[in-house]
Amino acid sequence: MKWKFAAAIAGYVLASSAHAAFTADQVKTFTLANGMKFIVLESSTIPNANMYTFWKVGSRNEAPGTTGLSHFFEHMMFNGSKHYGPKMFDRTMEAAGGSNNAYTSSDVTVYQDWFPATSLETIFKLESDRIAHLTIDPKMVESERGVVLSERSTGLENSNVRMLMEDLNSVAFSAHPYSWPVIGFESDIKAWTQQDLVNYFRTYYAPNNAVSVIVGDVKADQVKTLATKYFGAIPKRAVPPAVKTVEPEQKGERRLFVAKPSATSANLMVAYKVPRADSPDYYALNVLQSVLTEGKTSRLYKALVEKQLATSVGADATDGFDPGLLYVFAVAASGVDGAKVEKALLDEIDNVVKNGISEQELQAVKNKKLVNLYRAQETINGKAQQLGNYETFFGDWRKLFAAPAEYEKLTAADIQAVAARYLKKSQRTVGMLAAKEE
């Protein structure tokens, strides 16, 4: 039996102008009169295509009492519209050879369709109908609550990282909506009203709040014709309200402990406050993250895994519209005290802050970024995800093509400077999960 949760691709950054699988002049874009933007890349390596639609709505747009609503709404988008009643979105798509999924983060909700290129028009019919005419059936809402409660509990049952991160976020943020879990609190999941859902749809699912990326064996002209035909008549709406809450400055280290009786070893997560995705420090921070945890010669792999303190190390930073967190985590080896792992991890981070990194390490990361770019661009999905991420979080898909130069110009001193600026004790939250609290 195999199981897999598709991971939201965090930040496939970087690109190379000369050797990338595609270039900026191959990308076509157009914007409908209602403000909905389309990015199209013709790619004929397989007879398939995809459509990734990025909506600028996520859990940061929620409030206490409605936590998890963005994600729940993502589920409801599959439960019926004017011409396609309950279940018909999926049935129609699958009968046309297509499949789909969607994900919600703190900042965006993204719908993904994968289909034979010959089914492009069917996909446009399905996607436009639910944007123009979603029906929110109260009966569907009730059964979908059970699904989301199961999704929530199975995540907590099977993933220590998920459990720890959920609690850590609530400690790291005291005011900003990044504080609560994307999936929402159990009591809120049980409490949404019909009106909450209707309001949400009206506020955020406006064509001018979305960008759609289509990559595959299609023609840009054909995509434009279909987009105009099916999405063109959907009215533009007011820009959604801005998120006003600004997280107050953190004044010192914060700590938390999570007990999970069946944990066989300690799980450690240290999160540092970092700026929003389009910060000038973005690329240097991204390199720093790689220096710390990417590959067997990374700092933390050598200091923790090679020294038998941990079985794995990792780092993650989600692209966000607001200042967020850089997470660094490790799973302790059997019989190794969590505190010992924590000390080794923090010592190593302090070492980078004090002494910086070598030219060799910097070059290794630059090399990795380039090869990873090729890997991402080997598939139509990787290309769509990159274009959509850059357009959404950096304001312009073209910046994808500027990324190689952004990496190339970084010096070891730049990396040390961001380490010193952000990896500070006062700006970190330290979380530990283990069988019991010592």
Partner: protein, 468 residues
């Protein structure tokens, strides 16, 4: 947070092909060196990357009483060669953004690398060294073993990671196919360096291996380089022979109840014997399984998730091995809803044999499933890594390329009448086997409804009842 669980129906394992009209395995060349080594080369120029893998015909089925030996050997390959230390190897690959991994499955052990085209000259010789002359340096091997033992313990924190291993152990009993590929805490802890060296010596030999290269290279030059790097590899004595790895046992309904005291949900697997990887009905069965549990609108997901809200996802799959295989349905639900979910899964499963409205597979449903599997096929053949994996399966498991080349034809040829015949022939109807991972105190009575119950403790060593 995703809308849905992504099903890995693994239509043909990790495979690939292009072009809807043709659907053939892309062109590649196979040669055999004088020492018996099979070499497979497939050119691809979409991105300047090369995927390389060495595939050895040996895996958990060759572990004998030393469960986890193949797996440990596959990973220990990376610990350095006779000429280069582990740190030198790690540095060489990591500095270039290359990926290097070892691994072992039930019937094959692989060493794989993925790197930029321009780094082939620097990295291929190292790759060849670790495959042919690994050092298995003692200190590093101990560290690896210790880390893997921790990993085995950690895996049991997640029912989803281990439910399938219990299920296979239950169905295959004492046969080699029951052997847990990763081993158990006790079996792995007992392995010695000599065991690993012995395994390498027995199975890592040119007449029992293939070297596969897929990606952006010049074939003449690559062929020459592979010959230079692997041509001196010698085999001693007769090559290893394949034995009988076992058939699934399902003589009466049985339930293994795996107790995890802090579980908040029950994770379950239900099923019985399936088919072998090269079964003539493999492709049409993928279509039928799509109807039952292989896609979002499948019967199982529709009933257990969409109609009842009992779970976030339910699926079914055939898990074929070279000689035999298993069929299973799987899902999870809140502990208190265990009985409702199990009953609904079984009721839904029985629709395969039903008649009249809602029973059997009608033409419209079949047509939809056929369109679905065809539409979702090409992306499985998109990357060099996926294609290298396909060639590896063709070599190690004897997967016939006709199965892929005829995929479209075999899907199109499926009719409702033939579907009914295949359901009767291949889906296990009686004596269903069941694994439940959950809080035993809450679900013990429920478990007894479905067969003879054997209780296991998830924290006990291994994946079968003590003393068995």
């Amino acid at each position: 947070m995703m809308k849905k669980l992504v099903f890995t129906t693994a239509l043909l394992g990790a495979t690939g092909v292009a072009c809807a009209a043709e659907f053939k395995v892309p062109q590649f060349e196979t040669t055999r060196l004088p020492n018996g080594l099979t070499v497979m080369l497939m050119e691809r120029h979409e991105v300047p990357l090369i995927a390389v893998r060495a595939v050895v015909k040996a895996g958990a089925v060759n572990d004998g009483p030393q469960a986890g030996l193949a797996n440990l050997t596959g990973d220990a390959i990376l610990l350095g060669s006779e000429k280069h230390s582990k740190s030198a190897i790690d540095e060489a690959f990591d500095f270039r953004g290359a990926q290097l991994a070892g691994g072992s499955a039930t019937e094959q052990t692989t060493v794989q690398a993925n790197f930029a085209k321009n780094d082939a000259a620097a990295l291929l010789p190292l790759f060849a060294e670790i495959v042919q002359q690994p050092s298995f340096e003692a200190t590093e091997l101990d560290k690896l073993k210790t880390r893997k033992v921790s990993g085995l313990k950690q895996a049991k924190e997640s029912p989803r990671q281990v439910a399938g291993t219990y299920y296979r152990s239950m169905l295959y009993g004492d046969a080699p196919y029951a052997s847990p590929p990763g081993g158990t805490v006790n079996s792995l802890s007992a392995l010695k360096r000599g065991d690993v060296q012995g395994f390498h010596q027995r199975y890592f030999r040119p007449d029992n291996a293939a070297v596969i290269v897929v990606g952006d290279f010049d074939p003449a030059a690559m062929r020459k380089q592979i010959e230079t790097l692997f041509g001196q590899w010698k085999a001693d004595g007769p090559p290893p022979q394949r034995a009988d790895y076992g058939k699934p046992l399902a003589d009466k309904p049985r339930v293994w109840l795996v107790n995890k005291p802090d579980a908040i949900e029950t994770t379950f697997v239900i099923g019985g014997p399936g088919i072998a990887r090269n079964d003539a009905d493999y492709v049409p069965l993928q279509v039928l399984n799509t109807v039952l549990g292989g896609r979002f609108t499948s019967w199982l997901n529709d009933e257990l998730r969409v109609n009842s809200g009992l779970t976030y996802g339910a699926n079914s799959a055939f898990a074929p091995l070279a000689q035999s295989g298993l069929f299973s349905m799987s899902s999870f639900t809140a502990s208190a809803k265990t009985e409702a979910a199990l009953d609904l899964a079984l009721k839904t499963y029985n629709r395969l044999w039903g008649t009249g409205n809602g029973g059997g597979i009608d033409k419209a449903t079949l047509d939809s499933a056929k369109a679905y599997v065809k539409g979702q096929f090409p992306p499985r053949f998109e990357t060099s890594e996926q294609l290298a994996s396909l060639l590896g399966d063709m070599y190690a498991l004897g997967v016939d390329r006709a199965q892929i080349d005829n995929f479209m034809r075999d899907v199109d040829g499926l009719t409702p009448v033939k579907a009914k015949q295949l359901v009767d022939k291949h889906f296990p109807r009686n004596n269903l086997q069941m694994v439940l991972v959950g809080k035993a105190d809450d679900i013990r009575k429920v478990a007894a409804k479905y067969g003879e119950v054997t209780e296991l403790d998830i924290s006990a060593d291994g994946f079968k009842p003590a003393g068995k």
